[in-house]
């Protein structure tokens, strides 16, 4: 019987699969028992009410999607009074995801969640830092560290830093988050992308640019997960293009402790459940008693192999 449990700092999850923030909501409970998930990560909310971007908010790409939702938010009270109680019906740890316009805002909102019943807070730092010429917090190591530090000062809850992939050196950002006290990293949010309709000559999402998500993004994010895992001691949660157990295993081999699935849940809502079944089958086939043994288990080519120079 495979032990699927994983530890993210002081939190033990029953298994390494959870949804990416913004890709699971109440409607999924109509499809399968959410108690099967390792954790439930909820959509990013802000303290203030927001409508989000104008539609069209989605465009289909090859093996991927372009999304430009913005951060629609019903505010903190709704989250505490409606959202959390809904998910507490399941035996699954809840992870909140928050965003704010300023470092102080992140801290203040984190404080409000301390007694909410969530087990951790994901800091969505891919949003613009309005106090610093609009550059996203997650593109600036100093801002990243400050946000995490402010949140850690404001709450006893573990803080997961959700990194932006739109940077030149993600290891620098990873270390900054760790220095700020992050208990884990989520690598990563969506890469900034664009698509134009060649018949209308207009952008395919109203916001001009959006995030590209789905299987096409996996190889780039895989490299980032590896770089993050090499750079820090805290757990790294892989997020980008996970569609099945093979992807989850690959991320874990690269250094991830757990994974998040986003877009694939739109294509195949039962995909996370199937992933767990297939992950178990893989571990049984390979005689792996604990799935956590996969984390960082990638083996480099030996000098002998390289000398044989990769002939098949």
């Amino acid at each position: 019987m495979t032990d699927l449990s994983v530890r993210i700092g002081d939190i033990t999850l029953a298994n390494p699969i959870m949804p990416g923030s913004g890709t699971l909501a109440e409607g999924m409970a109509d499809v399968f028992d959410l108690s099967r998930l390792g954790a439930i990560v909820t959509k990013t909310f802000t303290d203030d009410l927001r409508e989000g971007n104008a539609p069209p908010r989605v465009a289909e790409l090859q093996n991927s999607t372009l999304f430009s939702i913005g951060i629609p938010s019903k505010g903190t009270d709704y989250y505490l009074n409606k959202t959390v109680p809904f998910y507490q019906k399941f035996n699954t740890p809840i992870v909140a995801s928050i965003s704010a316009d300023t470092t102080e805002g992140f801290g203040a909102l984190a404080a409000k969640l301390s007694d909410s019943g969530v087990v951790a807070i994901e800091a969505n730092i891919s949003c613009p830092n309005l106090k610093k010429d609009g550059l996203a917090f997650g593109m600036d190591p100093v801002a990243t560290e400050e946000v995490i530090r402010a949140m850690k000062a404001a709450t006893h809850l573990p803080v997961w830093a959700k990194l932006s992939p739109n940077v030149g050196d993600i290891a620098v950002i990873a270390r900054a988050a760790e220095n700020g006290g992050a208990d884990a990293l989520v690598t990563a949010n969506a890469m900034l992308a664009m698509a134009i309709d060649i018949e209308t000559w207009q952008p395919r999402v109203a916001n001009l640019m959006g995030g590209i998500t789905g299987p096409a993004t996996k190889p780039v994010i895989m490299r980032m997960v590896y770089q993050c895992a090499q750079a820090v001691s805290i757990p790294v949660i892989g997020c980008g293009g996970v569609s099945n157990a093979a992807d989850a295993i690959e991320y874990m081999l690269a250094g991830a402790t757990a994974v998040q699935m986003g877009t694939q849940s739109f294509v195949q809502p039962t995909a996370m459940v199937k992933l767990l079944d297939d992950l178990t089958a893989y571990c049984e086939r390979r005689g792996i008693a604990k799935v956590s043994k996969l984390t960082g288990a990638m083996r480099m080519f030996s000098p002998e192999q390289l000398a044989r120079q990769g002939s098949l």
Partner: protein, 285 residues
């Protein structure tokens, strides 16, 4: 969909959930005219629980070389619980629907659903008038079935460019609806003519529920008409979708909200989760 669909005593049991990736077997998938095909499938029980106005999110086979990554939303056109079948009426428009068109008898259709808020006929409704144009007729047809079954008279006004492009005419009649046809050809499908027609119908037999789908012009007409006469009404809308389950927030459109104190605001709602059927007076066009 109910937020409490998970029955506590059946938690974990695979088939107690109201929404599923239903694997349906194709019975037929034939052209009904130049642009539209009728897809008939054998469907499992979960799928057959669908109501008029609800839809499914269909996995579409590849169209030649390009795969179809996201599913495509399609309304229920007919729910035939006797035969255990569902009908979809779809326009072959782009890559997804071209892929759908390749499915043949015996093939499998993965249909996620049923999802969405369907039409809500107020109790005791006497006379339903539905106006549909183009593939909007596909979505309205099951409402005619349900309304007749609930004891209402149904008048279905079908609009098209020309009579040969009409669809669902015969099915509506055999379901018990009175069908009125208006076409651009004949020149009686314009807003003025339709408004006059509605007034005559209402005078003849009071309308207490209106429904439409597929045309902003017709929706606006019905909004004005229903406001003037205080008639309940709904419209089935469309928007680009990611998940069809209320999770991704891609499918929003603006709607009028009235607060408890009467203040009116406009805000986004999800067409897949709060709709696709909405009350006429809340719909912003």
């Amino acid at each position: 969909m109910s937020l409490c669909a998970v029955k506590p005593d059946e938690a974990g049991a695979g088939d107690s959930f109201p929404v599923a990736e239903n694997l349906c077997t194709i019975v037929s998938n034939d052209w009904v005219n130049e642009e539209y095909r009728l897809l008939i499938v054998d469907a499992p029980a979960i799928a057959l629980a669908a109501k008029a106005g609800q839809f499914f999110h269909l996995m579409c086979p590849p169209d030649g070389e390009s795969g179809n990554f996201l599913r495509r939303p399609m309304s229920i056109h007919r729910i035939d619980r006797e035969q255990g079948q569902l009908h979809f009426l779809y326009k072959v428009q782009g890559s997804g629907t071209r892929g759908l068109a390749t499915l043949g008898q015996g093939d499998t259709l993965d249909a996620l659903g049923p999802v969405g808020q369907g039409f809500t006929l107020p109790r005791g409704t006497q006379h339903v008038v539905m106006i549909g144009r183009g593939v909007g007729l596909a979505t309205l047809a099951p409402l005619a079935q349900e309304a007749v079954a609930a004891g209402a008279k149904v008048t279905a006004i079908l609009s098209a460019r020309m009579a040969s492009l009409l669809m669902a005419e015969d099915a509506l009649r055999s379901d018990g609806a009175e069908v009125v046809i208006v076409t651009d050809d004949v020149g009686n499908s314009d807003t003025t003519s339709l408004e006059a027609l509605l007034r005559r119908v209402h005078a003849d037999r009071p309308i207490d529920f209106v429904a439409t789908c597929g045309s902003k012009r017709l929706t606006r007409l019905l909004q004005d008409f229903s406001t003037e006469f205080g008639i309940a009404g709904q419209v089935a809308l469309e928007q680009r979708m990611g998940c069809a389950l209320g999770m991704c927030f891609a499918c929003v459109m603006p709607f009028r909200n009235t607060a408890a104190d009467g203040t009116r605001t406009v805000g986004y709602r999800r067409v897949c989760w709060d709709g696709p059927v909405f009350n006429l007076e809340e719909t912003v066009l």
